[in-house]
């Protein structure tokens, strides 16, 4: 993680101050450190590392919870790759990630640029724009979305004015995914706040100098703002795409627990949930989970690799 600063090393001289007492002191520090960390260590072993190993094992077994897991080798993965519903879930998820993430970040950046100007009432706007990020994940908003995008409701009626009639997005397999995309975009407040914080750190002198050189607003944005906030942009792209891969609640609620119609909102985790908790195919679901881990790791790796080309880290900025 480039965002994480290296733990600031204490001056080395402190260590060597008193060699004899130092060794005992160091042991005491070690004990204290591990004591303070003990909740996390326990949590890491029992709730993270242990389950990861278990799930890797389950991925190669047939396991229905009631009889012991039975080793089947690569069977789950083979079945999975040939499963049309799995393929559909990959397709739906990729579509969701690729459409929702850039639009959401574009809106977040646009509004952040708007709010970065010093105007009266900007705090109020900022708060109001952030609110959907907090309530968007709730079942309540899922219901509201169903209502807004159903047949003959507001979105449908607005469309009809323009001569388009799809009978509501919720019931239409071609459109329902865009209702989810809209719900994701609506929650642009969180990346917006991060953009805002990044914009605040751009040195004003740069703009003043550019203006003196006769650079217009577009040029200033392209040559100053964008490179200066590229670390923040990178962070937002990373976070939002990883989140988008894991969407579940909104797909489940908006599509009435069916992830449909016609599997149109069968996002990856929705299928994983169906396989694991509805059909008790724990082995298959674990294979799916590991495939997701690999996919997310790949996306993360590609993003980290690509940042060399477009993320601009100002070493001497401070």
């Amino acid at each position: 993680m480039t965002l994480v600063k290296e733990a600031p090393a204490r001056p080395a001289k402190k260590r060597s101050a008193a060699p004899a007492a130092g060794r005992r002191g160091r042991r005491r520090e070690n004990i204290a450190g591990y004591l303070f960390m003990s909740p996390w260590i326990a949590g890491f072993l029992v709730l993270t590392a242990g389950p990861m190993i278990a799930s890797l094992y389950y991925a190669f077994t047939r396991y229905n919870l009631f009889t012991p897991p039975e080793w089947v080798g690569l069977d789950n993965f083979q079945t999975m790759f040939q499963d049309p519903r799995w393929q559909k879930s990959v397709e739906v998820t990729l579509k969701y990630v690729v459409v929702a993430t850039p639009l959401k970040l574009l809106l977040a950046l646009g509004v952040a640029l708007l709010l970065a100007q010093k105007r009266s009432g900007q705090g109020l706007y900022r708060a109001a724009f952030y609110m959907p990020s907090l309530i968007g994940a709730s079942v309540s908003v899922g219901f509201v979305w169903r209502a807004l995008f159903s047949d003959d409701a507001i979105v449908d009626r607005t469309q009809k004015i323009f001569g388009v009639d799809v009978g509501g997005w919720i019931g239409n397999p071609d459109y329902v995914i865009y209702a989810l995309v809209a719900l994701s975009i609506w929650q642009f407040g969180a990346p917006m706040v991060i953009f805002l914080a990044g914009l605040k750190q751009v040195p004003q002198e740069l703009y003043e100098a550019a203006e003196m050189d006769g650079a217009g607003p577009l040029r200033r944005f392209w040559n100053i703002t964008l490179p200066m906030i590229s670390p923040v942009l990178f962070f937002n792209v990373l976070l939002e795409s990883i989140h988008a891969f894991q969407v579940f609640g909104s797909a489940y609620v908006v599509s009435n627990t069916q992830c449909g119609p016609a599997d149109a909102t069968l996002v990856y985790t929705c299928y994983l949930y169906q396989k694991g908790f509805k059909e008790a195919q724990m082995g298959f679901a674990s294979a799916m989970a590991w495939t997701l881990v690999v996919a997310v790791a790949l996306v993360t790796a590609v993003l980290f690799w690509s940042q060399k080309k477009w993320v601009h880290y100002e070493e001497a900025a401070k």
Binding site: T48, R119, S286
Partner: protein
Amino acid sequence: MTSATSSPVVHTASERRRFGSIAWHVGSLAVLAVVLYPVIWVLGASFKPSKDIIASIDLLPTKPVWENFSGLADGISGISIGTFFTNSLLYAGLAVAGVVLSSSLTAYAFAKIRFAGRNLLFTLMIGTLLLPYHVLLIPQYVMFRKLELTDTLVPLVAGKFLATEAFFVFLMVQFMRGLPKELDEAAKLDGCGHFRTYWSIVLPLTRPALITSAIFTFINAWNDFMGPLIYLNTPDKYTVSLGLMMFRDQEGISNYGSMIAMSLVALVPVIAFFMAFQRYLIDGMATSGLK
């Protein structure tokens, strides 16, 4: 913007500023209208008769009715709304206590104690931030099932007491590293052990980060859907999220009104929390992304 006019420079500048200001407010209000539309819609819809909720295009009801809210008093299949709220409050309260306690202890170790393996453990912790939760979902479920702890709050809050929410640990580490070093060095000279330093010096100073974590934890627990969906199976243990889903199953389209009213009531704690603490929340969100 830079178009030259013949009028005096001062005049143009102030006029341009006023125009800029108006354009700014118009732009912001336009975005605001779209963003707040669903919130205002649900507020208006909760006072509409059931049959009008989808069919009427009006944002606000023409003749407001109370029946949607009064209908809530009956509860859902014999379970009162209060039960769902109590369960959610208990879940959220325990989650907050767990996260604040365990994450601050862990963060103190990372930020203030030099121990062998600290950097490796820190990297591991940050690594868990990127790990899709779903890979843990199934084995954790199997484990809690074997321990016969499903249908209790234990699986939902255990992780909070064991500092598995790396985001909050990270937030607190960043904050604690920003505290002046002189403070804990002075405490050390005065003979304070690590626990004293943690409890009476570092913890009070970390309050903004603790509050941010507490609010986020509360709201996440309140909104949590997948956790309760998987672990809770008797209706009188359901949280508000699952209660809402029951409403949908029971009432269907015929009683859209109470469903919308219940949705609105379920949002009240989150919105109230947000209104009260939005400054902390938004600043906390911003700092966690940077630094």
